[in-house]
């Protein structure tokens, strides 16, 4: 992706206004019938911080992201996001967050530019042609701006989803497997973008299976297993090898080698 710097499409370089805690979760629990998908999850994330969630499939990473995004309601527990109660004031939360989930929110019969225009207007952002094109240039989709998304590869759709994030004013980014489908240049650009986003005071939560990319953008790393956070440590305290060993012990069970 372009080395023009992530701020170009955002059209600003000023830091986010300082506030205290972006996510404050206490004893979150989510059940479907008798099955607990999340169980007693508590965490706190401040502005300018990045949290990477690791864990095997089906351990609740996506569920946790969707609850923080107000797409799901927790069965019990307290959750405040950007200072607002996520259950009682979801609209306030939605004004402060953006998300790149498993789906890319891409309409297949619209071009890249048209997709961006749609989401920019729906999000109440500047939908000017120059701004949209700058965002596409940032993620190196400018050459395909007028091409229908149906012809895009999974990686290109992922880039388009990231271009959408560039248009917004989110203070908290929730990213589910954001590195999947991106080539090396794309992963590098995304890593730099996320670091720059944090440097401006934004907070981010990344759920990923990619240890190195995830840890590279994190201040803290948490491992989820069986719906519980079994480890939550500063990333600086963990080498990749330590992390892999702990992951195998805590998430995969004793005697498992990665």
């Amino acid at each position: 992706m372009r080395a023009t710097g992530p701020d170009a499409a955002r059209g600003r370089t000023a830091p986010f206004p300082a506030s205290n805690v972006m996510i404050q979760a206490e004893h979150l629990r989510k059940t479907y019938g008798p099955t607990a998908v999340l169980d007693d999850v508590s965490l706190e994330l401040g502005t300018g911080q990045g949290l990477t969630l690791l864990g095997p499939n089906g351990t609740g990473k996506t569920t946790l992201l969707r609850i923080v995004a107000t797409l799901l309601r927790p069965t019990s527990g307290l959750l405040r996001v950007a200072g607002a109660d996520a259950v009682k004031e979801p609209e306030a939360v939605r004004g402060a967050i953006d998300m790149v989930g498993h789906g890319s929110w891409v309409y297949e019969d619209l071009s890249a530019l048209e997709n961006l225009r749609f989401w920019a207007v729906m999000g109440g952002h500047d939908a000017g042609q120059a701004r949209l094109r700058a965002a596409l240039e940032e993620v190196e989709l400018d050459a395909s701006a007028d091409q229908r998304a149906r012809t895009f590869s999974a990686g290109m759709k992922r880039r388009l989803a990231l271009a959408r994030v560039l248009l917004g004013r989110a203070r908290l980014l929730l990213l589910d497997e954001p590195f999947t489908g991106l080539d090396r240049a794309g992963r590098k650009w995304l890593g730099e973008f996320l670091l720059s986003f944090k440097a401006r005071g934004g907070a981010l939560v990344v759920a990923t299976h990619s240890f190195d990319a995830g840890v590279g953008v994190a201040d803290r790393v948490a491992i989820l297993a069986g719906g519980r956070i079994v480890l939550d440590r500063p990333a600086a305290d963990l080498g990749l090898e330590d992390l892999r060993r702990l992951y195998d012990e805590l998430a995969m069970g004793p005697g498992t080698a990665s």
Partner: protein, 226 residues
């Protein structure tokens, strides 16, 4: 243009653009309308009196059957690539999305109705020109009623596994007042009587439209959130 109107307009723009390019719904609907006409003509035979007596009912049977196909697909586009999630997370009043979807459905239905009326004219050798104004008024009110409920139930059933089954089961009983009033008003218009003769039915239609529209606007957010 207010932010609310811009968002509603964007939904119409996006749906019309996607439909214009894919032509998935319109092609199927026009083909379906053609099939219906063949069946009707075969069932009624050449006797003029039978055709004229059955015409208002047949017209609205064609509209509602086409509507069942069109409305049921309205929100399927939002399931692709999880766009539904994006709509839920957009800030602001979600009823703008409902009104945008409703406007898109009305547009599709207008196209289908024009095609159906033209086909009826050709297949049954009926001259609609003396009744066009009155017919247009009844069609406008009836279509708004059908599309208001159809759009809402399209959203309700879009996330369900048995949506193809549930959608008509939910929709048809709900649109009975609209269908009754529309067929009766159409009968009056096609009999060459002045529109004022159908005033009671038109008032019922307008009232039903208003109720359905208000219910749709007020409840859509809950439907979208699931």
């Amino acid at each position: 243009m207010s932010a609310y109107a811009r968002r509603a307009w964007m939904v119409v723009w996006k749906d019309v653009l996607a439909e214009r390019r894919s032509k998935e719904s319109l092609n199927a609907l026009v083909f379906f309308a053609l099939l219906l006409l063949f069946v009707f003509q075969f069932a009624l035979g050449p006797e003029r009196a039978r055709v004229e007596a059955a015409l208002p009912g047949l017209l609205w049977l064609g509209f509602i059957l086409s509507g069942l196909l069109a409305f049921g697909r309205t929100f399927l586009i939002e399931r692709e690539n999880d766009c539904w999630e994006g709509l839920v997370l957009t800030p602001g009043d979600k009823s703008a999305i409902y009104l945008g979807k409703l406007a898109g459905n009305v547009l599709v239905m207008v196209v289908v109705e024009v095609v159906l009326v033209a086909l009826f004219a050709v297949f049954f050798a009926i001259d609609f020109t003396p009744f066009l104004l009155g017919l247009a008024a009844v069609l406008a009110l009836g279509t708004l009623g059908l599309a208001s409920v159809g759009t809402l139930f399209g959203a309700v059933t879009a996330q369900m596994r048995a949506r193809e089954l549930l959608f008509p089961v939910l929709l048809l009983p709900a649109v009975v007042p609209v269908l009754l009033a529309s067929v009766s008003a159409t009968q009056t218009v096609l009999a060459g009587e002045p529109l004022a003769e159908a005033a009671a039915w038109l008032k019922l239609l307008a009232a039903a439209d208003l109720v359905y529209l208000v219910v749709g606007v007020l409840t859509f957010e809950f439907v979208l959130e699931g």
